[in-house]
Amino acid sequence: MNTASLQFDQVSKVFPGVKALNGVSFEARAGQVHGLLGENGAGKSTLLKILGGQYRPDGGRLLLNGQACHFSSASDAIKAGIAVIHQELQYVPELTVAENVLLGRLPQRFGFVDKKAASAMVAARLAAIGVDLDPDALMIDLSIAQRQMAEICKAVLQDAQVIAFDEPTSSLSHRESEVLFKLVKDLRASGKTLIYISHRLEELYALCDCCTIFRDGRKVATHPVMADVPRDLLISDMVGREVSDIYDYRPRQLGQERLQVRGMLGEHLAAPLDFAVRAGEVLGFFGLVGAGRSELMRLLYGADARSQGQVLLDGQTVSAKGPSAAIEAGIVLCPEDRKEQGILAQSSVAENINISCRRHGLLGGLFLRHAREAALADAFIKRLRIKTPNREQEIRLLSGGNQQKVILARWLAEPDLKVLILDEPTRGIDVGAKNEIYRIIHEVAESGCCVIVISSELPEVLGIADRVIVMREGRISGELDRSAASETAVLRMALPDLV
């Protein structure tokens, strides 16, 4: 058996104001899946970026099969047999799937790219791992999940000894996740060294042989046998406190119907849709990838043009003129694609929080109140436990989960919040933070707002929603009250009819 192994020895990395990694040591063995866990901002991705040659460590070293290696670029790491699937997908939108997968090593014939061979090669590999994707499709035309699968295929095709996955399932649906799990298991069987980061504990238990837990840039513990670690220990290692019921659901008194959506129809919906939300209600939306949940919410929010439909809030028609009108009426949306639609990447945390709500507190109706904005930002950083050196940090430098919290803060700062729509709010978020977000969701609901949560994680929907609407292929395929909503009931509504 292959004994290749990867050792991290006292690895440290410092960013201005942040000690992202602080003397981390552990070893990942061949033929094993080594799980990495930790809160948002604990330093997991930073470690993988060092592994992938993207960053150089400020201290410590990497040993591959006992040999110290120093990567000065990504290509060095690739040459050494390391493949990393990064948390932020790294693809070229205007190139095809095949070209993306083979980027950096396109097959050539007589000096020309052999496109046929490339397509065939990628098609074969995609088929082998069970992914249904056209290798000649442009990346930009794919869904996020499909892009993710292409990225995974890219790493696998590198024929690396070490493959590291950074939250690969965060944007995958159930079915694609299954494909991935099988792939990971096959790779393990073939003796590869695998590193796997995820915030989903079930996944980690199902896949990993052992795990290492991070907190604040330090290693807290390495557990050699994953199956032996009790769940509560994992969570408390990670979060540094006990979390009993992460969904934290408490029954609430529901009020009148506040939000009514009537005959909503847009480009990607199959039929006009109606639904309503009561004051204080948390309404969950479940569906498979592409079911049309995001589209429905974007139409409601005025982000996309509707072909018909109406939104009533407290009996008043809400203008469809665009997000600004919706916000003015008290409807806000946290979009699903954080990087493209959510964050203002180069702006500070404070700026990202204040961008919308600041219009309420202008000096003389014109000038910004800097002190007030700063105080507000600080308050939210504290309340949501956003991990950032200070409020002036550019948001793109925060870890993914913390970025999500900032976007949430942006909307919680709205003084007149009536409807809070969250599209995949806990994607890429650690257990502790998830718990905090659920708490906030309940808080908001308790104050009499409507909360709509779209999620592709079934347990989450079932755990927090008072009522679940299920969508399928651009239609509402069913609706269940909390009491009636079981996994099977919901899935039956979400899956295409089995003919």
């Binding site: 982000a303 180069q346 961008i355």
Partner: protein, 316 residues
């Protein structure tokens, strides 16, 4: 906490410090450089670029681009001069010029924001059309200005400084406040950083863009009128290549062409560097051909300095 702040401060203001050092060196080494007359002359020489750089900064910050400013300067000047010739009314002349500028700007804005035309092509088209208009309305001839009131506009002095310098100063002040202390400015940066995210956060992206271009047109027209008054004529072929000068000054001042980044102080420094280089070369009687070489070298030196420092701070 103290140390990194100092370094950040240094990084932030390195260009300013660099310019201050340059200025000192020139003051002691170049004859006649550090005299009231020369400094006033220097400032006057960048007055037009300075004004327009203020709005160009907004435009670049919102990830747009405006090539039409040179033509607008010419057109506003010519138009003002013609109106003045016909009506003898300074108010009408200035009003007409400004209105024309605002319309041109708004036109650019509508093309880019609503009709989604690429900013480079849209403003290139307006650049050509407006230049054509300037030639057409003037029949290709400079239009003389005789009105003393209008000429005073570019000539009068307040506290020893010519009016155009005051106007430029006011522009820097107003647009600095606009950028840093108003929703307008912040939203401008937001749409430059990520237009889609800004829109979802409630920014009226299209409307804002039109306003930015409208302001740009307005300020450019003002610069054109002031130029016309300074040179006592509206010249249809003036200010060619002006757009590149303005954009360079902005980029030199740290405004990113990728949008989302702008500092009014940086732009001021960028403008001053451009003016100083030219001024000094003329003071030192540098041969015209070598001036090209020198200007190129100094541009490079300035950005390389900035670059080195940025890297230093990254690794340090």
């Amino acid at each position: 906490m103290k140390k990194p702040l100092n370094r950040a401060w240094l990084t932030e203001h390195s260009m300013t410090l660099g310019y201050a050092v340059l200025f000192l060196v020139l003051a002691v080494s170049v004859e006649n450089f550090f005299s009231a007359a020369n400094i006033v002359g220097l400032m006057l020489s960048v007055a037009q670029i300075g004004m327009v750089a203020c709005t160009m900064m907004l435009c670049l910050a919102s990830r747009d681009f405006d090539l039409s400013v040179g033509s607008t300067i010419a057109f506003a000047g010519v138009l003002g001069a013609i109106i003045l010739e016909h009506t003898q009314s300074v108010t009408l002349a200035v009003g007409g010029g400004l209105l024309a500028g605002a319309l041109i700007g708004a036109g650019n804005g509508v093309l880019i924001a609503y009709l989604k035309v690429n900013a480079l092509i849209a403003t290139l088209a307006t650049m050509l059309m407006v230049r054509g208009l300037a030639f057409i309305v003037s029949q290709g001839q400079a239009v003389g200005i005789a009105d003393e009131g209008f000429i005073a506009f570019g000539d009068a002095r307040i506290l020893g400084l010519p009016l155009p310098i005051w106007v430029t100063g006011a522009c820097f002040l107003v647009f600095g406040v606009l950028l840093n202390h108003t929703v307008f400015g912040r939203n401008t940066l937001a749409i430059g950083g990520n237009p889609e995210a800004a829109r979802l956060a409630g920014v009226k992206v299209e409307k804002l863009r039109v306003w930015i271009f409208l302001l740009q047109g307005l300020v450019t027209a003002l610069a054109g009128l002031i130029l016309a008054s300074r040179i006592t004529s509206g010249q249809p072929n003036s200010a060619t290549g002006f757009e590149l000068d303005v954009i360079s000054a902005c980029v030199l001042g740290g405004v990113s062409l990728q949008g989302g980044k702008a500092r009014i102080f940086g732009v001021l420094i960028g403008v001053l560097i451009m003016g100083t280089v030219e001024n000094v070369m003329n003071l030192m009687n540098v041969d015209a051909f070598y001036q090209y070489l020198m200007r190129g070298l100094i541009l490079l030196a300035a950005v390389l300095l900035d670059q080195l420092k940025a890297r230093g701070s990254k690794h340090g």
